[in-house]
């Protein structure tokens, strides 16, 4: 088994209370499915919209990130899967894809087995 980081970008936010609730239920169901199938390493957390970015050799601190909302990382989850292919398959069930321009980034974690 290998580990993968799911990075959620550009998920839908806001909407009517009913929409919010429905969306939450879908996410909860999805997370639960991954857990029962034994793929969930760490559910992770949603992230605040903005913070600080420390940049460059001079360690300049700026407000940010000011990416376009569709590119902004909104949360992360740590997944266990056989290989990248399976991790990608797992990602397809994510409710994030209900948003037109949303994206889920699947990144294998580099692990050195010594």
């Amino acid at each position: 088994m290998s580990e993968f980081l799911f990075l959620y970008r550009g998920a839908d936010r806001g909407g009517s209370p009913e929409q919010l609730q429905q969306r939450m239920q879908k996410w909860t169901a999805w997370m639960k499915e991954l857990t029962t199938k034994g793929h969930m390493k760490d559910q992770g957390h949603p992230l605040e919209r903005s913070g600080k970015v420390v940049k460059g050799k001079r360690k300049t601190v700026i407000d940010g990130p000011f990416a376009e909302s569709k590119d902004l990382v909104g949360g992360y989850t740590l997944i266990e899967a056989r290989d990248l292919e399976q991790a990608v398959e797992l990602s397809k069930g994510c409710p994030i894809f209900e948003a037109e321009s949303a994206a889920l980034e699947v990144r294998p974690i580099m692990i050195m087995n010594i």
Partner: protein, 406 residues
């Protein structure tokens, strides 16, 4: 939550309070999506709202004026945190809801607007849900709520419920509004049973806030709660699973909520403490008479007629007179009932009320005059206000027609 935040920000910052609550909800749902629902979601939400309120207060301390009576305490970092802890304590929240309730019953607001704004702010109904409850359009409801909020914002601070004289001037209006809220659920026009039950429950929750208040714990409040409990006990059978209306006579009485009945009777006893006899007392008495009869035939109609007599003396409304006539018909036969109906003083005010014609039809049917009865039911059908009433009346017409063709 809005009530508590409004207490902190001041009534004039109602919109800000709503934004903070909205924000707290969005954050909650986002976190819960990942981490699952916490064991105590409402406490979680309150804590989030409190933190957001602290942020807002710190950020906008110089730009805005918040609640005037708290202003100085909120200005200093030394007092800010402890004051906020106090304000978000459970009993303070209850108190704020009560104050908000009194604030909403503003004399410059029409009754319907009071009910709408209470549903919106204190019961968390969305504009669409309020519109649904009143069978009104979204736009009209939005307008009504916006206007009500403006009036509310003009009052600067939440109503002070500790001052006895101010309390007692607005107390009857508050009772009246809660009574209307309950009735909207019980008799109202919304075809959705779930909406109506929710309205009744909210009215009962808010009235129980009154009972916890030293000045609100009056016999008249007990009478109102008794009335609500005894009527709510019949809710499960009033509308069936198909959304069909059932008259008092053909309800499955074994399905009535016995616990609510006994609670209602207990409150009715408490309500007898004072010397004041209100409409709520009498209506609760009538509801109690119905609730205590296990079968329609066992109902003490004589007692009910005399209760209606007392009610008419207090409030000579044609609808009360109509109900009295129906009770007389039960007690002394349909002919007497019909005669009573003919002699209702303001009969012309009932012409648009479908259940006046329906009652005429019912009594004529019992006299065996099916054709006349059918005509009355048809007239009622033309006046019906929602699909539920239409289905009910169509059913009665069918009964008349089926029986008249042997």
């Amino acid at each position: 939550m809005v009530a508590t935040l409004t207490r902190i920000f001041g009534v004039h910052n109602l919109a800000l309070a709503e934004d903070v609550v909205q924000d707290a909800f969005c954050r909650a749902l986002e976190v819960w999506s990942f981490r699952g629902m916490p064991e105590n979601p409402s406490a979680w939400l309150m804590a989030t709202a409190k933190n957001r309120a602290l942020d807002v207060l710190r950020r906008e301390r110089t730009a805005r004026a918040f609640a005037p009576e708290l202003g100085r305490l909120l200005e200093s970092e030394w007092t800010l945190a402890p004051v906020m802890e106090d304000l978000f304590a459970a009993n303070a929240i209850k108190d704020d809801q009560l104050r908000m309730m009194f604030s909403c019953c503003h004399p410059r607001m029409p009754e319907e607007a009071q009910v709408a704004i209470i549903l919106h702010i204190l019961c968390g109904f969305s504009v669409d849900e309020v519109a649904g409850a009143f069978v009104n359009t979204h736009a009209a409801t939005q307008k009504r709520i916006t206007r009500a909020k403006k009036i509310l914002a003009g009052s600067k601070r939440l109503f002070d419920v500790t001052a006895a004289s101010e309390f007692s001037t607005r107390f009857p209006t508050v009772l009246r509004t809660l009574y209307l809220l309950f009735n909207e659920g019980y008799h109202g026009a919304s075809p959705e049973a779930a909406v109506r039950v929710a309205l009744c429950h909210e009215a009962m929750r808010l009235v129980s806030l009154l009972l916890d208040h030293p000045l609100g714990k009056a016999p008249v409040s007990h009478a109102l709660v008794a009335l609500m409990c005894l009527n709510a006990a019949r809710l499960p059978t009033r509308i069936d699973a198909d959304g069909d209306l059932h008259s008092l006579f053909d309800q499955d009485r074994s399905q009535w909520d016995r616990q609510l009945v006994s609670e209602g009777l207990r409150f009715l006893e408490l309500s007898a403490a004072g010397s004041e006899l209100t409409e709520y007392h009498i209506e609760a008495g009538i509801a109690a008479a119905h609730a205590q009869a296990t079968r329609t035939e066992e109902t003490d109609w004589k007692a009910i007629v005399s209760l209606y007599d007392a009610l008419i003396a207090l409030n000579p409304s044609p609808i009360v007179a109509l109900n009295r006539a129906i009770a007389i018909a039960q007690n002394e036969g349909p002919e007497r009932g019909l005669a009573e109906m003919q002699s209702i003083a303001d009969r012309d005010r009932l012409v648009a009320y479908p259940f006046y014609s329906a009652a005429l039809g019912e009594l004529e049917l019992r006299c065996g005059k099916r054709e006349v009865a059918g005509q009355h039911f048809s007239a009622a059908l033309a006046l019906a206000r929602n699909p539920m009433e239409r289905r009910f009346l169509s059913g009665r017409i069918a009964v008349c027609e089926r029986d008249s063709t042997p």
